[in-house]
Symmetry: C2
Subunit: 196 residues, 2 copies
DNA sequence: ATCGTAAGTAAGCGCACACTTGCAAAACGG
DNA sequence: CCGTTTTGCAAGTGTGCGCTTACTTACGAT
């Protein structure tokens, strides 16, 4: 049982670095420090191994919740967004691979998009709560606002390393800036001194 | 000379669909309806062909300008953003591939990131102009605002097809909604009736 | 002591890959 | 019409791929 788990972790690592075609059974076996034949005895095929690896190692849906009763939108969004971004950053290579190979391996892409989609739903529900609890008075389009916030987190997490000029620095301050900007667009002006 | 150009276009197409490892010389030759040997006589190696293909077909920097003297920010940003997004959508497969293979082929990634980086610079200069021409009175962080707008365009262009739930519909209205949201965050409230 | 199970080792299969060679057929301008 | 360049075609090289086979080793339960 130990070898199985080790093979799954190794396969996820190799896939993130080399993609599907680059993840040869020999490389995965070496990475897991296991004989290559063990792969085929345990999983039957390279395809089965990689699919199980991405589904288990990649599908961990670590999207945290946002407060049921919002009180400090800026702090809450910043904290939530930072967690989401941190998690996306850890999986950035795997996510990029999955997205770029979605035509050839739709199931892998599906495992990888589950996180952002769940995050988007959690955020939209929170935005609705902001309004129903009277913290936002003006009307706004939940879908557009949540889309822009998620896009900011998603792009920052995936592309900052290759296009650092595009993003506010330092990384630790970025999410708070995104949250402030988004909140301002729906009429919540957070004073500069208020921080997280 | 005709074959050379045809090979370059075919290589770019095949790369976008199959990635570097999946772009076999046989496939490219078939796509270009040319004998496989011609590739090696013209370019010497698969590597040289693909690099030249991405540099020429992918490096076309079609980022339009924004007005030197801004007058109608919402209309101008919407028009500009739509053009940028349309262009990114056409190259979405190639961009995804390039970004996911940046560790193995940094030059390809560089060709592919040039567009978004240029767009970001054009936008930031425009935001500065908005302020210097008195169209925006309050102070704001140009980098954060441009980053969020570019992220919205970038993510929408690259991921809408695989995660449609994340984005406002229809596509044709999305950019205008992004522009309005961004402008509201810097204090420009555009009445609903104003359209593009 | 024996058996079943999971693992390692070594060898090999057929295939696709990037790339090469040799030769004949075009395409072209002088 | 000839000479050069470009292309097509057929065959082949060595390498790495996914996967298989046959045999051996280690070990815990019966």
């Amino acid at each position: 049982m130990e070898r199985r788990a080790e093979l799954l972790r190794a396969a996820a690592r190799v896939y993130a670095k080399n993609g599907y075609r680059g993840s040869t059974t020999r490389r995965i076996a070496d990475e897991a420090r296991v004989n290559e034949v063990t792969i085929f005895r345990q999983f039957g095929s390279k395809d089965a191994l990689i699919h199980e690896a991405i589904a288990t190692c990649g599908g961990v849906e670590m999207v945290p919740d946002l407060p049921l009763v919002p009180s400090d939108p800026c702090a809450e969004l910043t904290r939530w967004g930072s967690t989401v971004m941190e998690h996306m950053r850890e999986m950035q290579s795997m996510v990029r691979r999955g997205m770029s190979e979605q035509e050839e391996h739709p199931q892998l892409a599906a495992s990888v998009t589950a996180g952002p989609i769940k995050a988007s739903n959690v955020l939209r529900a929170y935005l609705v709560r902001l309004q129903s609890h009277g913290l936002v008075t003006e009307d706004f389009d939940h879908k557009v606002v949540s889309s822009m916030f998620i896009s900011a987190l998603f792009t920052d997490a995936l592309e900052r390393d290759s296009m650092p000029e595009l993003f506010p620095t330092p990384l630790s301050a970025a999410c708070s800036l995104y949250a402030r900007t988004v909140l301002k667009s729906i009429g919540i002006d957070v004073p500069e001194t208020a921080s997280v």
